[in-house]
Symmetry: C2
């Protein structure tokens, strides 16, 4: 599984370091810049550099940003472009994104547009970024009220997965990535799901093989549908409701991690799967019980009318019907299933407030 | 020649309109936005729309910018992204760039990065944009002190050439594009050059066949070297000195058009071609006489030390030697020729001040 991912440019552990070093030798870049946030600067950069004693200090530059989603803005993007200029980076320089999805989204976009595109390499430091942002070639920033409104489909030269970075993660960040791994199992690989759900979600229970399995599922889906015309939509399972919940909790001042919101979204969308995708009701209830153990419905929760407002705020949702990716069964997903708004709210109400 | 360009997505006159209309039918875009500046809004848009009676008024939107190079900024880029949002453009919308190079550079970049890329189509309205910006897939903006610092190599869905737009051009803009056409002849096709130089450079003397010939030369060069690694550099003939002169005249408050500056640059670089690329001195002098007729050395002119300052301001120029693309003979160019700065200044002095 791990080796198969090399064709997608993903390398693990020792092999990631070897591949990285051989690229540095082969390309002989004029400058090597590392983009990080203040967390990864303090926690991950020392680990990273200690494993790469041959990196030439003279060529190496660090660009440090504030952590958090607000960093994915046009203002910070302009600061990064400015920094590239101040560091005299040219077409033959390379950017290394050392951080979570914010860093690889922003950094990938900044690199792909600087001087019409320089090489970039991702070393994701969060579990979410390892299993989700490391494949799919999406980069970009938020703009106006919209997430990821500006961006590109563009591939990093390589992605290196170093699981030791996970030891630097707070538990809630770990659980966030874990939810996406569960999703990969639910939509495409029941065995992967069952392997994960049997474990305790913490660092001691995870290894490169499990990460690779999750990434491989996403990589296969993306490879079949690079620009999100069809099949790739199954990766959105849990996300329609999940995004609405994420926005609501954000506004309510009790933000959830992305993965937690998606895990709640999956629980509601499992109910929809029984009603609209012929998923067996006993299986649905068993899966919901599983997920609830790690991602229980919070005490504070939106009313159905609040959820409706958030759902309608998403440009994808127009008219009286919404389109969902739902499960036919554990390990098999369908996409573009139309569900009336009224039914969405009814199933939400039953699950969250029932 | 004209038909051969269709493989590069370029269509002329009636065929451009037919191809455009068939694309609109086939793609059935959710929105069609036209990006123009106030000049092309007043002079070209009425012509364009009068030829396309079937464009659905309800889907059509106009985004109008200020004319001029200052428009290629991150601030205007953000305004254009904002406008796309306000017009509710989605992934299935299309942008039509109706203008010169500023419009297609900025608009192409805005479209290629909006929602990770929507289709865009160029209808260049200046001769320079028709022969120069219409192929090569370069888009972008200026950033900080640098021209085209941020951008992408990205292809428009099609380029339509409607020579009637040229009748809206001021003479100096016409001459600016003409200089690039002469350059295409000089670097790759002596016959094309001789055909052009025999004519008076004005609208009555130009037709689609001549434009197509010039574009074809560039398209062939670009096709062999998309990302400017080697051969494509021959398109820079005249531009090293030309850009320095363009900047100096700009700062001196007597701006030259891009093409005029390049034509002056070519005259100096012809002297360098005799000295460093074994170009026959009689041929060099004959070509310089030709060019001088339309692009004479202005009365106000920089000293050699001024030119040196401008040349060193260009990041490409480092150290005591500069790299030039020079002519081996009329119709044949070489690239990466190293010339000592002292020799550059000496030849400049002899030609401009001799």
């Amino acid at each position: 599984m791990i080796d198969q991912l090399e064709k997608f440019g993903l390398f693990f552990e020792e092999k990631a370091l070897l591949q990285f070093q051989s690229l540095m030798l082969e390309k002989d870049y004029s400058k090597i810049a590392i983009l990080c946030d203040s967390h990864t600067h303090d926690l991950c950069l020392p680990i990273f550099l200690s494993q790469l004693p041959t990196l030439e200090a003279g060529k190496l530059e660090i660009v440090e940003l504030e952590p958090g989603e607000e960093t994915k803005s046009i203002e910070v993007l302009a600061q990064v472009w400015d920094a590239f200029g101040a560091l005299e980076m040219d077409r033959h320089s390379v950017l290394i994104n050392l951080g979570g999805g914010v860093i690889s989204d922003l950094g990938g976009f900044a690199a792909a547009t600087y001087m019409r595109g320089i090489d970039f390499i991702n070393f994701p430091t969060s579990l979410l970024a390892m299993v989700d942002a490391s494949v799919g070639a999406k980069t970009g920033i938020n703009f106006g009220a919209y997430k990821n409104r500006i961006g590109l489909f563009t591939e990093p030269l390589m992605v290196g997965i170093l699981p030791e970075f996970l030891e630097t993660l707070p538990e809630e960040e770990f659980l966030s990535g874990w939810a996406e791994m569960l999703k990969h199992g639910l939509i495409a690989d029941a065995e992967h799901y069952r392997g994960l759900i049997r474990r305790k979600p913490n660092t001691s229970q995870i290894d490169s093989a499990l990460i690779a399995h999750s990434v491989a599922i996403k990589a296969e889906v993306v490879a079949q549908d690079k620009h999100e015309g069809g099949l790739r939509k199954i990766l959105n399972f849990g996300h329609s409701i999940g995004h609405a919940l994420e926005s609501w909790y954000q506004q309510a001042g009790q933000p959830l991690t992305h993965g937690y919101a998606v895990a709640l979204g999956m629980q509601v969308e499992l109910s929809l799967s029984a009603a609209f995708a012929e998923c067996d009701i006993n299986e649905v209830q068993a899966l919901q019980r599983d997920l609830r153990k790690f991602y229980p419905v919070p005490v504070l929760k939106p009313q159905a009318t609040d959820l409706k407002t958030m759902l309608l705020g998403d440009k994808k949702n127009k008219g009286s019907h919404l389109r969902f990716s739902l499960l036919r069964s554990c390990g098999a997903a369908l996409y573009d299933i139309e569900v009336p708004m009224d039914s969405v709210l009814e199933h939400y109400n039953n699950y969250f407030h029932g």
